[in-house]
């Protein structure tokens, strides 16, 4: 949301009421139920014992969780560092008009439309040295590549898969943002004799701020909850190199059926994402307004 002053109008609540009803319908009851689970020891659906904050304390001390959290942070920030610049660069180099533009748009969007378990499965074959194009090619070049045997290879494969899968989201948002800039801005820049970089820095980037903020937050929270793709591709291995937070959570919730601790962990997990997103959001908003000041 922009920080400029807007007229106060409490009736605007009526405009957002449908949204609140739609979202709250599915949001509040499940969240409350999970909070309820998190303070109980659920022995069977009929027998539950109130345990207070015990699960939270146990989860905070869990060494495995700390490891998974660190790997998760490393992964999510790598995702942002690669996908955001790459997505912006793509949006800038996509043709703006004609059949080429349409064709590029469609091709770029394809990877987003594949169900996530299929993404993992395809890359599982694609990366194999004996029958997959990627693994085969790397082997032929002379790189000893194996995503099942080598932890670094596995980590990089998961990252490349995520870049392949999700950069289009950043690119499409940035492209739509670019296309919404009125021609008048470019004409003014041309009259001023602004360089390509100046146009990017002082016109395109500030105008894309809104969509880029959405792209950063979306990519951050979705990569922080990544589950299906690495689970299918590597199963979290080798060792625990690609075991991220949600996989650990699912082990707890489904594998061991420890509903209480799993619920406590879910809430901690949720609060971590919330906190980091809040920091990112506020930071990006500050950066944005400073830029506007520079412009004036």
């Amino acid at each position: 949301m922009s920080t400029t002053t807007k007229p106060v109008n409490q009736k605007a609540w009526f405009l957002i009421l449908p949204v609140l009803i739609c979202v709250a319908f599915s949001a509040i009851v499940p969240l409350m139920t999970v909070v309820n689970y998190s303070v109980q020891d659920i022995i069977s659906p009929e027998r539950t014992v109130f345990v207070g904050t015990e699960w939270f304390a146990a989860m905070m001390r869990d060494e495995e969780l700390h490891g998974a959290l660190l790997r998760q942070l490393g992964f999510s920030f790598s995702v942002l560092l690669v996908e955001i610049p790459l997505g912006i660069a793509l949006a800038l180099s996509m043709p703006a008009k004609g059949w080429k533009s349409s064709a590029v748009l469609v091709v770029i969007a394809l990877s987003l439309l594949i169900p996530w378990n299929v993404v993992g499965t395809i890359w599982q074959i694609y990366g194999r040295a004996d029958i997959g194009l990627l693994g085969f090619t790397l082997q032929k070049i002379g790189i000893d590549y194996s995503y099942t045997g080598n932890a670094t290879d596995a980590w990089i494969t998961v990252l490349v898969m995520d870049v392949w899968h999700w950069t289009p989201l950043v690119a499409l948002l940035a492209f739509a943002g670019l296309r919404s800039i009125p021609d008048a801005y470019y004409q003014a820049a041309r009259i001023d004799g602004a360089s390509k970089f100046a146009v990017f820095r002082y016109i395109q980037l500030p105008k894309m701020r809104g969509v880029l903020m959405i792209a950063v937050l979306l990519r951050f929270m979705d990569s922080f909850m990544i589950y299906t793709e690495p689970f299918v591709l590597t199963g979290g291995g080798p060792g625990n190199a690609t075991t991220f937070l949600s996989q650990y959570l699912t082990q707890k919730a489904v594998g061991q059926f420890d509903l209480g601790p799993a619920a406590a962990f879910s809430l901690i997990y949720f609060l971590i994402i919330l906190l980091l997103c809040f920091i990112l959001y506020n930071w990006m908003q500050r950066v944005g307004t400073q830029k506007v000041e520079v412009e004036q």
Binding site: L15, V23, V118, L133, R179, S180, F270
Partner: protein, 271 residues
Amino acid sequence: MNPDRRFKKRTLFLALYLLFALLPIYWMINMSFKTNEEILSSFSFFPQHFTWANYVRIFTDESWYSGYINSLIYVAINTVISLSVALPAAYAFSRYSFLGDKHVFFWLLTNRMTPPAVFLLPFFQLYSTVGLMDTHLGVALAHLLFNVPLAVWILEGFMSGIPREIDETAYIDGYSFPKFFIRIFLPLIKAGVGVAAFFCFMFSWVELLLARTLTSVNAKPIVATMTRTVSASGMDWATLAAAGVLTIVPGAIVIWFVRHYIAKGFAMGRV
């Protein structure tokens, strides 16, 4: 550096990316025309024993193709509801300040931040209680949880880029609010509407966990049907690849239809 060379560099970069984007998809298409034995036994750029069998299986087995129909129904319901409730809300957020606006705006997004594993059970209970289990509407409503906030955020971003003077000029010219919104404002944020529609479609289309939890037979989505290819007797790679190729098709058609909205963007000249 002359502009011609820079242009070539950009085209080269784009071409390289498109290659990177298409190769795994090509591999999937390649696999979908092979048999399982061929996929696992040898490396080949083209199917050696070309077969349509995998596609035939999907198109002749009702439990397969009904998955596509179910998915399309609830995705369509979801996209329509998401956009129609998000448009007025995004306008309110971008144009007015009101009590708690910033908090509500951020709260909306927090609904996308809940890791699903533990939330599935309460979802199941809630939707059983209200009698929406195994209905298209049920899945569509559940998917509103993550699509509505997304649509509001995207649309708000685009609406805030439109100067407020345009609203004021329209009122002075005697436009009523609905008329102004549909005739003048919507065309200005076409790109945002196009992107939001596509993303709502996409996220609802590929979502697996909620859709699988809330359905059993009548509304079973294609993503859930696909998990059948993993069985005790091993993976059915070929059928999965063929089903994967077919899941791309509806989305590709959607983006083909919204491409003009995305690419044309700001249409100031026509107002």
